[in-house]
């Protein structure tokens, strides 16, 4: 499957103005952005589009990103439990977030939880509140990302409408709770209920009608960008996504590489032997996991360099005007 030119999609992405009047969202020099959440968040790791655009929105600022997404995860940290209980999962989530020392957190949940429908909503509201308690304790600025809908055309689930109704209910609940606590909320249910998303059969906005596909990340970026009032120059965004020859430009390449290295750092394979209950056998090799830290740092230097190059290019282009 060949993708349509990315640039075409970006038109919608960059243009949308925001209606929100709250304090302007900004990333500052030295900010550490953490992405926390479920499958939607985890897979952004390999695409890197959200990170790329947030970088390009503030190209002069040195911001670093850590993706702590875990497939199938919930506000209770269920996917992080390892051999332990759900409570252990939440403990793990808490320490993973704290270790990343975030100043900004994008937290995306609700897709998994919404399957519990109305009956599960009170428990979810409580869990989401507890999660926000933990995140707020870090003093980071928080942006809440709601669940996406299933694509009616693509999903094989005949009961998709009921699922979408549930997802919308959970999204509204998250919106309400986030607003009450003064956090920004990005609503994906509007854009994913649009015909372009619902009827998508060829673009690959979703992988399977449910989880978001590569282009879907760009599609949803529109919502993020609008909610946060990001302004990215259209020609800049397009050029940084894909070179004319179809290869990947340096900034995105280094972002993906960095994400890959960090994945080995925070979710290493063989965890049982390195840190778990068989560490007496291979625990001596656990030191290797920490050797990923300088590799991540080195890749971040390359990201900074690529970003600087873009800034210089922008200035030069500005000067020519």
């Amino acid at each position: 499957m060949k993708w349509p030119p990315l640039i075409a999609l970006l038109c919608t992405l960059v243009a949308a103005p925001s209606l929100q009047a709250a304090e302007k969202f900004e990333l500052h020099d030295g900010d550490r952005v953490v992405f926390l959440g479920n499958t939607l968040i985890e897979r952004e790791n390999t695409h890197g589009y959200w990170e790329l655009m947030l970088t390009l929105a503030f190209p002069e600022r040195n911001v670093t990103f850590r993706n702590l997404g875990w497939s199938g995860d919930t506000v209770w940290g269920e996917s992080r439990a390892g051999f332990g209980t759900q409570a252990d999962g939440f403990k793990a989530l808490t320490s993973q977030v704290n270790e990343a020392k975030p100043t900004v957190i994008f937290v995306g949940y609700g897709n998994v939880e919404a399957f519990a429908g109305d009956a599960g909503l009170p428990k979810f509201r409580e869990g989401f509140g507890q999660l926000l308690d933990v995140l707020e304790a870090t003093k980071a600025r928080i942006v809440v990302l709601g669940p996406t809908l299933q694509s009616g055309k693509m999903t094989p689930n005949p009961n998709w409408e009921a699922c979408n109704k549930n997802a919308a209910t959970y999204s509204a609940a998250m919106h309400e709770i986030a607003a009450k606590r003064g956090h920004r909320f990005v609503d994906f249910t509007q854009s994913t209920s649009q015909e372009s998303y619902q009827q998508d059969g060829i673009l690959g906005l979703t992988e399977d009608g449910n989880t978001v596909g590569a282009l879907g990340y760009l599609y949803l970026l529109d919502d993020i960008s609008a909610s946060l009032e990001l302004s990215i120059k259209e020609e800049l965004a397009g050029a940084q996504l894909e070179n004319e020859d179809g290869t990947t430009p340096p900034l995105l390449t280094h972002i993906r590489k960095k994400n890959d290295l960090f994945f080995h750092r925070w979710r290493p394979q063989n965890e049982t032997y390195l840190f778990g209950f068989r560490k007496h056998e291979q625990g001596n090799n656990a030191k290797e996991v920490f050797e990923f830290d300088p590799l991540v740092a080195a890749e971040e230097k390359k990201i900074a360099a690529a970003r600087q190059e873009i800034v210089v290019g922008l200035k030069n282009a500005g000067g020519n005007k």
């Binding site: 499957m1 269920e78 009608g209 056998e281 291979q282």
Partner: protein, 1159 residues
């Protein structure tokens, strides 16, 4: 040594160089085994009539992990050079490669890298998805579809289908991708993996081992079955039945079905077992099918004993709802240590293809990830053919135009062809075309129903169903077809028409396999009627698998049927069949079921023989008023049925200790039973008084405890009860009872009681008892254990020992006990050593000394002497370890340890058992709310209990609620076990272990030699019983006799010299020669004649189930189905050395019988 022999024997020599320093190992890399494939090939010994050639080898491929053919006959191989762990800075560049043999000469001439940049891909299965050809690949945390749009055999499209698979261990990653006949992609994961997958239908989570069932077109992902450690093999037979092998389990071939659960599944209260208990561990699985192989190979299972470098073969025979599996002579065996067969497939030419991972190092956890001996670059695919038979013409599938020729291929004798016929049209959804083809089939033609079953599966692949076809197959004359059709209906119940009545009828099908599938399929209908229908299976003969399936159905559907039964004045149809309802309630096993059980008891319709069990269940789960009812029954039927009284008393005890529930009302009524005639009943009643803390009975208990005669069990129980009663009065009584005016048994029980109520006095009393008691009158192990399991008591014992002297032998036993406790208290060990005046420094070896020892093992070790040591009683090896299933189950089965472990590892394991612990053999230490420390290896954990196996090979059930603290313990193997061996003995023992599983005399033969015997233990009671009865009482199952396991040696013979000798009386009227009593058990699945073949039998007396047999070297018996005991008395005047027996089939007999290997 000449260069040539250096190459020839280089492998073994090099392996012997088990160095602990990597720098040294690097220097010895010059001793790498010869990697020439031809040399390896020459070392492979093939079964008669087979030959082998190299299909592909490095550098065309490295480290194959899984392989699967595609419809074009190309072989897709997942390979990983990164395994076991990515190095920081290393690119993940593992590959999917495609091998082609276009000219059909049996050798791949072309390799294409289909995809690279993967991270330890552990499974590949080619297929189409969304009209694009490509492959499904398990890639660490995800399953991706790698598509090939332009047909150049290079992936140009990647879709992440599923993500969230765990990676806790890279040899446990998602693996064994396999298309089922139903068009579902089955995928296995291993024990440490925890997966969390979002699907359009909700999240799916699986912690632990199991098999996923995935249907790409509908994105449905479900758990097919659970359990195992490393289920590295899965294949479907001709009828769609699943067979599984486990690369770390010990039960050979496993038969699994929807919902089946096997050992290690977290939270599973009940599990099934495999078909070959005591087998080594296997990887990969294939079923022989097709005309290239002779008739007697058809349907046989081929799998790989990768530890021992063997490719093995099993024959399955149907038995009840499942199978009997029996190992056949090897397909391949070799002493080439790098030959590591790990996958096996039938190819397009009818030959058998074997993936050889090629590596001298196979351990993952136990050997350092960075051990330089790990091979990262080699790999082979071998091709096994039958001499004198031509390879088959590879099939072609013409998917252009009408698909009729493809459908014709559904009737091929080769499973390969039938499989790829279905795969090649998997996305066509040509329902009408297929129906037209079906209409033209001749109903009288051979295999008509099987062809229609293939068509049914193909429609299922398309998520379509033809009701008429399905209905007709549900009525097929062939039970295989009916069973398969039932499963299809169960999976498609939502889209099939109203076929529920047809499904209900199959629950009482005449064939148990069909009934099993019906019981499983009925789970998919959410109604009490479906459960009632499943329960009708009870009206026909049951077996273990059927029982499990029904139990599972009742549990899974609990929320559907139980509320209707619990409703007040329930009119549920389930009450109409009391035994059915009893089964369903038992399956639920929670307090909610007590009212319906009581209703069943009261309405009088429950058969008499079921009542006792139901009463016990009520006692175990009931509330105080239910327990009062039980209590009344115990009291009101005195002396009528002691067994029932005992069972109910035990159940009441368990209700109090595990749930803290007691009967309502006056508990001191129990006093009535203190004088019960039956000693067991009296003891249980006495103990229960303590557990219930019936203070009014204290006087009676004191009187019973203070017996001056030889204490009976009830007297000792009274002492324990006093300890349970607690309080200062108990302390006073126990201090008195521990004094030397009482018999040692009384004192011992009192001391143990004191550890609970007054630890500081317990220490002094224990030392006094140990120093003064006559040898043999005190059980030192039990006594010391009471201290090591309670920290304050241990401290008291330590203090008391400070100024004490213990007899050396007593101290040794005590030290061993203290060392093998959950958390060895070194200060206590030291105090015991000092008091006994013995030295405690165990054997310590530096890395250099290990190397030296290993050298000595190779040069001088004598495996036969080592084997004798292994069986020596005081070393306790056999107590905990089995070889091929025969022996203890506390530690790993050692059947192929020599083939998989290096000698340095073996030395380390003997000297420092805690250095590297096999997966699944870590102990768990729990502290209960009573302050008791319990350690053992986890057997399983349910939602209520934790079941541990302790070092005594006993299963202990610990209620989860009582656990206050839980931590990882060490190995249950105590340090210092080999300390008392001479160096020569240690060398021999290591040599023996090092030979286990290697080709030679220490590889277990797949015959049915009796390997686990039991020897009569001369307890006082047992000897008396024998004296007063005929010798034949030993051949009955009298529970008053004690037996202990003894194992036959590798040559199949039991050594008699170490066994006890009885009898030998002679006067002028009589003569009884000295004799030894041994026995073994056999399990009979299919009744019929079978032969017991003894080495010689003239001097033996033989009984089966207590009936004497006329001795003969070949003794024909005709056992019924079930377990039977064969008891043998050996005249030791005639025979003093060895005894052996094996089971052999009588030609033509249908009998299926195997010796029992585990207790």
């Amino acid at each position: 040594m000449s260069k040539q022999t250096g190459i020839r024997f280089g492998v073994a020599l090099w392996l012997g160089f088990a160095l602990s320093s990597s720098a040294q190992a690097q220097r010895d890399l010059k001793n790498i085994p010869p990697t020439d494939p031809e040399q390896e090939r020459q070392a492979l010994e093939l079964a008669d009539g087979l030959e082998i050639n190299l299909y592909a080898a490095d550098p065309l491929l490295a480290k194959p992990v899984q392989m699967n053919f595609d419809a074009a006959g190309r072989l897709w191989v997942a390979t990983s050079e990164t395994y076991p762990h990515i190095l920081p800075g290393q690119e993940a560049k593992d590959k999917i490669i495609v091998l082609e043999d276009a000219d059909h000469d049996g050798r791949a001439e072309k390799t294409t890298v289909f995809a690279d940049g993967l991270l330890i891909p552990t499974g590949v299965e080619p297929g189409t998805f969304g009209g694009v050809a490509g492959a499904f690949v398990a890639n660490s945390t995800e399953v991706v579809f790698l598509g090939d749009n332009d047909g150049d055999l290079k992936s140009d499209f990647r879709s992440t289908l599923l993500s969230g698979f765990g990676t806790e261990d890279t040899h446990h990653l998602l693996h064994t991708l396999r298309w089922g006949p139903d068009g579902r992609l089955y995928m296995n994961q291993s024990i440490y993996i925890h997966s969390h997958i979002e699907t359009p239908y909700g999240v799916r989570r699986l912690g632990g081992g199991g098999i996923w069932q995935y249907h790409p077109p509908t994105q449905r992902l479900e758990i097919f079955s659970r359990g195992w450690i490393n289920p590295w093999g899965h294949q479907f037979d001709k009828w769609g039945n699943s067979l599984v092998t486990d690369g770390a389990g010990g039960e050979g071939i496993n038969y699994t079905f929807p919902g089946a659960t096997f050992p290690t599944a977290p939270g599973a209260p009940r599990v099934l077992s495999g078909l070959n208990p005591g087998s080594p561990k296997y990887c990969g699985l294939e079923i022989i099918s097709g005309r290239h192989f002779p008739d007697d190979w058809q349907g046989d299972l081929i799998t790989c004993d990768f530890r021992a470098h063997r490719v093995v073969r099993f024959k399955l025979t149907e038995s009840g709802s499942a199978y009997v599996s029996r190992e056949q002579p090897e397909v391949i065996k070799t002493s080439h240590v790098a030959f590591r067969p790990i996958d096996v497939r039938m190819g397009p030419d009818g030959a058998l293809y074997i993936a050889d991972w090629y590596n001298p190092i196979i351990q993952h956890g136990e050997v350092d990830f960075r051990d330089p001996r790990r091979d990262h670059v080699h790999g082979r695919i071998w091709r096994v053919t039958v001499k004198g038979r031509k390879p088959l013409e590879p099939p072609k599938f013409n998917t252009e135009g009408t698909l009729e020729t493809v459908y014709d291929q559904l009737r091929s004798p080769e499973a390969y062809t039938r499989h790829f016929a279905k795969r090649s049209v998997a996305e066509t959804e040509d329902v009408i075309g297929l129906q037209q083809w079906l209409a033209k089939l001749d109903p009288k033609s051979e295999g008509y129903d099987h062809a229609r079953l293939e068509a049914l599966w193909l429609m299922q692949t398309w998520d379509a169903v033809d009701d008429e076809l399905l209905l007709s197959l549900l009525e097929s004359k062939d039970h295989h077809v009916r069973a398969a059709a039932v499963r299809v209906l169960g999976q498609l119940i939502d889209i099939a028409g109203d076929l529920q009545p047809a499904l209900v009828a199959r629950a009482i099908d005449e064939h148990p396999q069909v009934r099993l599938e019906a019981v499983c399929a009925l789970r998919n209908i959410q109604s009490p009627e479906a459960v009632a229908a499943a329960l009708t299976v009870l009206d026909r003969p049951m077996d273990e698998f059927l029982d499990f399936a029904l139990w599972q159905t009742c549990r899974e559907q609990k929320d559907v049927w139980l509320p209707t039964v619990l409703a007040a004045d329930s009119k549920s149809q389930l009450y109409e069949k009391p035994t059915h309802l009893e089964f369903a309630l038992r399956a639920v096993d929670e307090p909610a079921i007590v009212p319906p059980l009581v209703r069943l008891l009261n309405d009088g319709r429950l058969p008499e023989d079921r009542r006792e069990g139901v009463l016990e269940l009520v006692a175990r789960l009931g509330a105080p008023q239910d327990l009062s009812m039980i209590f009344r029954r115990v009291l009101e039927s005195p002396n009528q049925d002691a067994d029932q009284q005992l069972a109910l008393l035990n159940a009441l005890t368990s209700a109090a200790t595990t749930r803290n529930v007691r009967p309502a009302g006056d508990l001191s009524l129990l006093d009535e039973l203190l004088e019960a005639a039956d000693e067991r009943v009296a003891s249980a009643a006495v103990k229960l008084l303590g557990v219930w803390k019936v203070e009014q009975s204290r006087g009676d208990l004191v009187r019973m405890a203070e017996t001056s005669g030889e204490p009976k069990p009830r007297n000792l129980a009274a002492i324990t009860a006093l300890a349970d009663l607690g309080g200062s009065a108990s302390t006073q009584s126990l201090v008195k009872l521990a004094s030397d005016s009482f018999k040692p048994a009384v004192r011992q029980t009192a001391v143990v009681g004191l550890t609970k109520v007054y630890p500081s006095a317990a220490g002094q009393a224990c030392v006094a008892l140990l120093t003064s008691a006559e040898p043999g009158t005190v059980n030192t192990v039990a006594l010391v254990e009471a201290f090591t399991t309670r920290a304050p008591a241990a401290a008291a014992l330590r203090n008391a020992l400070a100024s004490a002297k213990l007899p050396a032998d007593v101290a040794k036993l005590a030290v061993r006990t203290a060392r093998s406790s959950a958390k060895p208290d070194q200060a206590l060990v030291d105090a015991l050593l000092k008091a006994g005046g013995i030295s405690g420094t165990g054997l310590q070896l530096t890395p250099e000394q290990v190397v030296q020892l290993v050298e000595e093992v190779k040069a001088k070790g004598d495996a036969a002497r080592g084997e004798a040591l292994f069986h020596r009683k005081d070393l306790n090896c056999v107590k905990c370890h089995a070889i091929g299933g025969a022996g203890g189950r506390v530690g790993p089965d050692l059947v192929s340890i020599g083939a998989s472990a290096q000698l340095d590892y073996l030395v380390d394991s003997l000297v420092q058992p805690n250095k590297a612990i096999k997966e699944g053999y870590h102990s768990l230490v729990v502290v209960t709310d009573e302050g008791l420390t319990i350690s053992g290896v986890k057997v399983r954990e349910t939602d209520k209990d934790l079941i541990l196996r302790n070092a005594e090979d006993q299963e202990l059930t610990v209620p989860l609620k009582s656990i206050e603290e839980r931590s990882q313990g060490l190995s249950l193997m105590p340090a210092g076990l080999v300390d008392n061996l001479t160096r020569g003995e240690l060398v021999d023992l290591v040599k023996f272990l090092g030979e286990l599983g290697k080709v030679g005399p220490y590889q277990l033969k797949p015959d049915r030699t009796v390997r686990r015997w039991e020897s009569f233990v001369m307890t006082q009671q047992g000897v008396e019983l024998l004296r007063r009865n005929r010798l034949g009482i030993a051949a009955t199952n009298d529970s008053r006799l004690t037996w202990e396991p003894v194992l036959a040696r590798f040559d199949g013979a039991l050594r008699l010299d170490a066994l006890g000798v009885l009898g030998s009386v002679k006067n002028k009227f009589m003569k009884v020669p000295p004799f030894t009593l041994v026995r073994f058990q056999i399990d009979v699945q299919q009744p019929g004649p079978v032969d017991l073949v003894f080495d010689s039998a003239q001097d033996l007396q033989i009984w089966i189930d207590g009936k004497p047999l006329e001795p003969a070297d070949r003794l024909r018996i005709e056992p019924s189905a079930g377990r039977h005991t064969v008891t043998v008395a050996v005249d030791r005047e005639v025979r003093n050395d060895r005894l052996s027996c094996r089971l052999e089939d009588m030609p033509g007999s249908k009998a299926q019988a195997v010796p029992v290997t585990v207790k």
